[in-house]
């Protein structure tokens, strides 16, 4: 079988940009195979916010709030992605609201992780300030 004939979705190669921060997008993506990294770039510095794997989804935030993308996403190695556009997605959810259960579960997990990270950072900053009280 020729390459790609048996694979659903679209193919991306290592380093391909799937979307860029602040771009306007009306699609969400589900990873069928491979990995992607979610990044923020400031100047030449790239900070990896998360690495997502098979079965994970991304780009869903813009579907709900219509705002520009909050981060960039790049392919890590060869990736196959299924793209779902906003209109189709909302139609599906309106027909079967329970379709959103898994997304809500994943989004809740992401919020928990972010909360944890923020808490850890806050504690570290607090400790740092306490340790360097005299300089402050």
């Amino acid at each position: 079988m020729k390459d790609g004939e048996g694979s659903l979705g679209r193919d991306y190669k290592d380093g391909d940009i799937i979307f860029e921060e602040n771009s306007i997008g009306k699609e969400m993506y589900i990873i069928l195979t491979g990995k992607v990294k979610v990044i923020k770039e400031k100047g030449d510095v790239e900070t990896i916010l998360a690495t997502l794997e098979e079965g994970d989804f991304f780009g869903e935030m813009s579907l709900f709030d219509n705002n520009p993308r909050s981060a960039s996403v790049k392919a890590l190695g060869n990736v196959k992605l299924l793209e779902i556009n906003q209109k189709n997605f909302l139609k599906k959810i309106s027909r079967d609201p329970s379709l959103a259960f898994r997304m809500l579960e994943k989004m809740s997990q992401r919020i928990r992780k972010t909360d944890e990270k923020i808490l850890n950072c806050t504690v570290e900053i607090k400790d740092f300030i306490e340790d360097h009280q005299e300089f402050v």
Binding site: G4, S7, L8, R10, I30, L32, L82, D96, F101
Partner: protein, 459 residues
């Protein structure tokens, strides 16, 4: 309908799912996920008599194996991602072949969004084993994959045929050849329409009447992996060629085979041979290719009318045994009905009134939509038999494919009708768009004009 007492599933409740096709597996996956989500436990067993890893019709749930784009996406959102070797080919184009020409329609989503799969282990390889030295194309049954997903969620799977179902003090009890099976608080009828057990559900006297069906004909033709790639690629061919007795025929590429599906009245092996030898069909196959004498084939039933009263206290019928979309996306209907039944059983209860209130609306939605489906297919029949209309529709669609800026109005209607991607009512309403009607009208005048000109030239 009687007002029943609170029939809720308690922690540790037992569920017997009768049939491990898509409906049975989907029900199990969603019921188990949901119970875990609400911090409960259920003991769920799927009884399935087939072994989907074997080749041939007796281990297969006999269908064309096209998983609609809409279902591929919903499953992916649910975390069930379809990949090779379950996916035998990813489809992004449909070709509509009529006796007046053809039109290739590309997927509006511009991606390979439709999957073709085998429902069993694959075709019995009669022709290939003798003549073809190529390696056996790697494949895994879609139904087996879904059963695996259900097992991962915690379902037990027993390779048992259920022989009978009875009611004892309002509780359903099921029997295999060896005798009565453990009591269940809920029996889920996911047995499809091709097995005798469905009649046993009717005999319970709960008001259930199984859906009306017609027979369809399926054949798996081996042409070799390279030929499938070169000649069919990522395209499903739909044939509207006015063959007597044939309502609809399609060729679906998979691995090293193509699946020929035919719907109509009294379709026999000869009808299939006539179809394969029809010039429009033959031209799709390799020049040197001869129709094989032996190929894997089956004559399954297809659901064409809704079941009546597909629920009772502690019993719910889902998938084909309940309601399915007319001619299309039966697996998608199995998903919808299974999910609605699972949500009802876990979140509300397993009484007749619970199923009537929370489950039956999903069936009713499919049943009502099928009324529009019937109209759409009747229209297609009329168009197919009226050369001027057929030409106008083909030309309008060809024009749209060449000029995307004009909008895919006609193409998306054809696409959605034949891929089962959208509810029929949505397609029906879209068909009344004045711009679309104008486009077709212009093409009708064009077709009439060309005919008049041709006859004038002849005179």
């Amino acid at each position: 309908m009687k007002e029943n007492s609170n029939l809720e599933l308690n922690d540790g409740a037992k569920i017997a799912v009768l049939g491990g096709g898509p409906a049975g597996s989907f029900f199990s996956i969603f019921a188990l996920k949901l119970t875990r989500q609400i911090g409960k436990n259920i003991d769920l067993t799927i009884y399935e008599n087939k072994n989907f890893s074997h080749d041939g019709p007796s281990s297969c749930n006999m269908c064309a194996g096209v998983v609609s784009e809409s279902l591929v996406q919903m499953l992916a959102i649910e975390g069930i991602c379809l990949k090779p070797p379950i996916v035998q080919r990813a489809i992004d184009t449909y070709c509509f072949q009529t006796i007046g020409g053809d039109v290739f329609l590309n997927s509006p989503s511009k991606q390979r969004g439709i999957a073709t799969v085998y429902r069993g282990g694959g075709p019995v390889n009669q022709a290939a084993s003798e003549t073809d030295k190529e390696h056996v194309f790697e494949r895994k049954s879609f139904d087996d994959f879904l059963l695996d997903c259900a097992e991962k969620e915690g379902a037990k799977v027993e390779n048992v045929r259920i022989e009978d179902i009875k009611l004892n003090n309002g509780r359903p009890i099921i029997f295999s050849k060896r005798g009565q099976l453990p009591d269940a608080d809920l029996v889920v009828g996911a047995c499809g329409i091709n097995s005798k057990i469905i009649k046993k559900f009717e005999e319970l006297g709960t008001g259930y009447i199984c859906p009306s069906t017609i027979k369809a004909y399926q054949s798996e033709i081996h042409i070799g992996e390279q030929n499938v790639s070169d000649l069919f690629g990522n395209v499903v061919y739909v044939f509207l060629i006015n063959q007597p007795g044939v309502k609809f025929a399609a060729i679906t590429p998979k691995g090293s085979y193509v699946t020929v599906s035919m719907l109509g009245k009294d379709i026999t092996r000869q009808t299939v041979m006539d179809f394969l030898n029809h010039p429009e069909v033959k031209s799709k196959f390799p020049d040197s290719w001869k129709t094989p004498d032996a190929f894997c084939r089956c004559v399954p039933k297809i659901n064409v009318g809704a079941a009546r009263h597909p629920f009772a206290d502690r019993i719910v019928m889902i998938g084909d045994a309940s309601s399915a979309r007319l001619y299309k996306d039966g697996i998608g209907s199995a998903y919808l009905t299974a999910k609605a039944a699972a949500n009802t059983a876990i979140l509300y209860g397993v009484g007749e009134t619970d199923f009537h209130k929370y489950y039956y609306p999903s069936c009713r939605k499919i049943n009502r939509d099928n009324i529009f489906g019937k109209i759409m297919f009747a229209f297609t029949g009329i168009i197919n038999q009226t050369p001027i209309l057929r030409e106008a529709l083909l030309n309008a669609s060809r024009y749209e494919q060449k000029h995307p800026e004009s909008g895919y109005k006609c193409s998306t209607i054809l696409w959605d009708t034949f891929t089962g991607n959208e509810p029929y009512i949505d397609i029906f309403l879209r068909a009344f768009n004045y711009k679309l009607l104008l486009r077709i009208l212009v093409n009708i005048f064009n077709a009439i004009f060309i005919r008049l000109k041709k006859s004038g030239d002849k005179k």
